[in-house]
């Protein structure tokens, strides 16, 4: 089942990147896809995180919001870079997340890191250590919205995995 998901993704990636559809090339494609499957079986990465098709809609709804947040945060950091005086005040805060599954936690930590001005430094259990560029912007309350959206996008309904 999950193997089928990886097969589908690998074939789609090859088709989108190649643009050659002669029989010889298709034979090479089949060989490379089979090799990829064998390798991923050896690495034991064929599980439900390897083919997250079920939550694709959630991620698609999450990405535009994240893009807007990244653009807003970019403006703050660009101004901080170009100021004549260096008026930054870095801070470390602990943020507690409500995300249950590993995938949701990774999504949340990567979103924090992707927005300029905040970097996730350490994850232990459901607590994260976040380094921020401005002390006033980096309080645990400012991550609640992102946390809720990540939990909605990546967590399965109800049960934790």
């Amino acid at each position: 089942m999950h193997l089928l998901g990886i097969l589908l993704a690998a074939t789609a990636f090859w088709m989108a990147n190649s643009g050659h559809y002669k029989p010889l090339m298709l034979g090479f494609a089949a060989a490379s896809v089979v090799l990829t499957l064998i390798l991923s079986l050896r690495f034991k990465i064929v599980d439900r995180e390897g083919s997250p098709y079920v939550r694709l809609l959630g991620f698609l709804a999450y990405v535009p919001w994240l893009t807007w947040e990244v653009l807003k945060a970019n403006w703050v950091v660009i101004r901080a870079c170009l100021r004549a005086d260096l008026d930054i005040s870095p801070a470390l805060v602990k943020v507690r997340t409500t995300c249950k599954s590993d995938l949701a936690k990774v999504t949340f930590a990567n979103s924090i890191t992707l927005t300029p001005g905040t970097v996730t430094v350490e994850i232990q259990g459901d607590k994260m250590l976040v380094h921020g560029l401005y002390e006033a912007n980096t309080v645990p309350e400012s991550f609640i919205g992102m946390d809720a959206r990540c939990a909605r996008a990546a967590d399965p309904k109800g049960a934790a995995s």
Partner: protein, 106 residues
């Protein structure tokens, strides 16, 4: 305008080399090299469009992935001094004490 963008990218790569050469710690250098790799990807993509050959984008995809792998490899090597250590964190008691320094001054 594409040429101006190319020149701006090359200027910023040269500025980044300064940080890579005189970074005080190892991590500054790794950060500079990682960022340099990102800019190289952009440079390859832009150069392909200036030359009118979109084959360069394949090289850009490859360079993105190799840049990531090399950054992780360098960091892993300087953390464990070996490539033979599994990266798994769960269920493993780390040698260092859990990080306590740098509490927020609240």
């Amino acid at each position: 305008m594409m040429l101006a963008a190319l020149i701006a990218l090359i200027v910023s790569m040269c500025l980044l080399l300064i940080r890579a050469l005189m970074g005080p710690t190892l991590y500054d250098r790794v950060l500079a090299v990682n960022s340099f790799g990102t800019k190289t990807v952009l440079l390859i993509g832009l150069m392909g469009f200036v030359m009118g050959r979109s084959d360069f984008l394949d090289i850009a995809i490859l360079y993105t992935l190799i840049n990531f792998v090399s950054t992780i490899a360098v960091l892993k090597f300087f953390r464990y001094r070996s490539f033979q250590v599994p990266l798994a964190r769960r269920g493993e008691s780390r040698a260092e004490a859990p990080v306590t320094g740098g509490e927020p001054n609240a």
